[in-house]
Symmetry: C2
Subunit: 400 residues, 2 copies
Amino acid sequence: MEEQATYGATEDGGLHRLALTEADGEIRDWFIDQLRGAGLSVRVDEFGNIFGRRKGSDPDAPPVLLGSHLDSQPNGGIYDGALGVVAALEFVRALNDDEIETTRPVEVVSWTNEEGSRFQPAMQGSGVWAGAHDIDVERAKTDDDGSTLGEALEDIGYRGDVPAEPDTEYEAYLELHIEQGPKLAAAGADVGVVTGIVGFTWGAVTFRGEADHSGPTPMRHRSDALVAAADLITAIRRIPGTLGDRTVGTAGYVHAEPNSINVIPGEATVTWGFRDPDDAVVERAYQRVLAEAEHAAEREGVDYQTEERMRAPAISFPDRPVDAVRRAADARGSQYLELVSGAGHDATHLTSVCDTGMVFAVSEGGTSHSPAEFTSWDDCYEAATVLANAALALANNTTG
Amino acid sequence: MEEQATYGATEDGGLHRLALTEADGEIRDWFIDQLRGAGLSVRVDEFGNIFGRRKGSDPDAPPVLLGSHLDSQPNGGIYDGALGVVAALEFVRALNDDEIETTRPVEVVSWTNEEGSRFQPAMQGSGVWAGAHDIDVERAKTDDDGSTLGEALEDIGYRGDVPAEPDTEYEAYLELHIEQGPKLAAAGADVGVVTGIVGFTWGAVTFRGEADHSGPTPMRHRSDALVAAADLITAIRRIPGTLGDRTVGTAGYVHAEPNSINVIPGEATVTWGFRDPDDAVVERAYQRVLAEAEHAAEREGVDYQTEERMRAPAISFPDRPVDAVRRAADARGSQYLELVSGAGHDATHLTSVCDTGMVFAVSEGGTSHSPAEFTSWDDCYEAATVLANAALALANNTTG
């Protein structure tokens, strides 16, 4: 973990390792060295996803896949993604050290561009591999400088030679990730057994009023788009409290035009994001935000337009991998909490390929996407051990 | 008016003539041709303010000064500023046509950079000339491309050779301007007699909470800076209704960080602007916005900082120029409305130099700073005639 954190390190102890940049190229070189050093057979697919396979005693059995991602957010932390990749690598090293032969092959993977900071969408490499996205469409995506993802892959030498798709059936996928939320730490848990991933709706509302001089225009003559946007931001804060226990809602983005201290805003855009483990609650949140946008526009006498940009259904992981993780935690005597992930992960896409589960490591204070992101080495070890034992059970068909 | 509107004309009938750009250089050349064509002696001061003087029968008497500005907002209208300059020019042409000799000299002026779009602050040329600003400080101001105002002045050849300050006492300054508000049109008035200019406070509040992943962070763990900003925007909309009849309040600018659909905003800035003809009301609005910022920050558990950027006292024009304008309107049988300007004008600074008054022309719908800005030729003529007759009375000491 300390070694990987030197590639793209920031001065304040964080990580700035955006997908397919030079730093990402360097960590990939390092990762492949580690995979080869552990005796794995390495392949890189055409979308840059990197796999290392360890043979099983039954070479034809569908393998167990473990991994996460090595790219980071801009000025992110050193645990998000990397901990899951390093833990998977450490699992096969431990198998080597103890000369354990598993029935099934075990694969370690690092997915291309999980974060979605430089190229959108997030979880792109796992999405392409799982068949959720067309590879040509995703390779044509551009960053802010106009470089395509395809060019960026070639620049760092990571357009691989095998197709970006499963070349065999897979038995299961397990991903260890930091929680990125405060629940484990708040409950005093050692580790998290993840039972699924919340569904969400993302979208934007644009209000259009009339830009005018802020001095001579009486209050009652105004149609102020930013006032309507503020009304909606307040509503987005309020809506979750009227829905589920675990509903969250965020207005993350706002933009006003002309955005001048001295002009009544003629246009204002605000985004919404609502998540909940229950798709029906996500739908209710969506209907509520549309209704609130209409009320806000009416009150201020402005026009408005809404656009839902993304909707993802909630995911329930199947019993088998969840049980494997739960038993591994039980066997250690770990205090675990079962929880639904509030963030999307590569595991989201893997659910369409094979049985998928996740292990969460404690995030102190719940902070992530920041240099302040922190998981103690004890908590890293705890989660990695649970991952390893769950993976071992799946690889040896001893999940009961 | 039609001729000046060709310099910097936009396709939709508006004007894009930012201060000290090439288009401003061209309109200045045109204006000096007109001044010379009317037999005036022209001077350009070191800040680019352009004056044309017509002699009086008493050459030593303090002159009467008339004018406004020729620069425009980005994609502004053709009347804002230009109408006052053209009307002043037309007054001396009418004096010439009718061979009228005034007792006092009459001067026509076009002030540099009234709009404050390319270089800040607004009303800059009149401010330097009246002694409100230091010329070296203002010449060092830069635009978004890093060019200084001093360089821009020299680029268009308008760094003049006389000091940017009054070279004599002045009897009075009169400025004709479009109202930029809806009151004259709403009252069915022909012209406005301006009795003063509102005071205002401008400032900004920055809220600082904690940026975090919008998915796994429960609502009660959030300190969302944008929610606090939205709360304040709503308060700014509400405050004027609790103060004076003529109080206005605007949140014109908002910015959130990191401003991403998927991240709880860790920082958000919003500006306030309040105006009222009564300084005590402006102060109450200021105290109210501070209190509302504190409440908003408390409710959301964020820190905040406030910064008042500008405070201008309300101005009451002296009786003499206001009476001169009122009598000129009465003498024509014009329906006039007395009103306080809701916007600042070059006249603001001139009040420290000499007796100052203003004439407002009707703004249809109150729209300005937009190509849709419109004043009918009849309304232009009406206001220009009132200006001319008021100026004539002041220039001949016949104000009673």
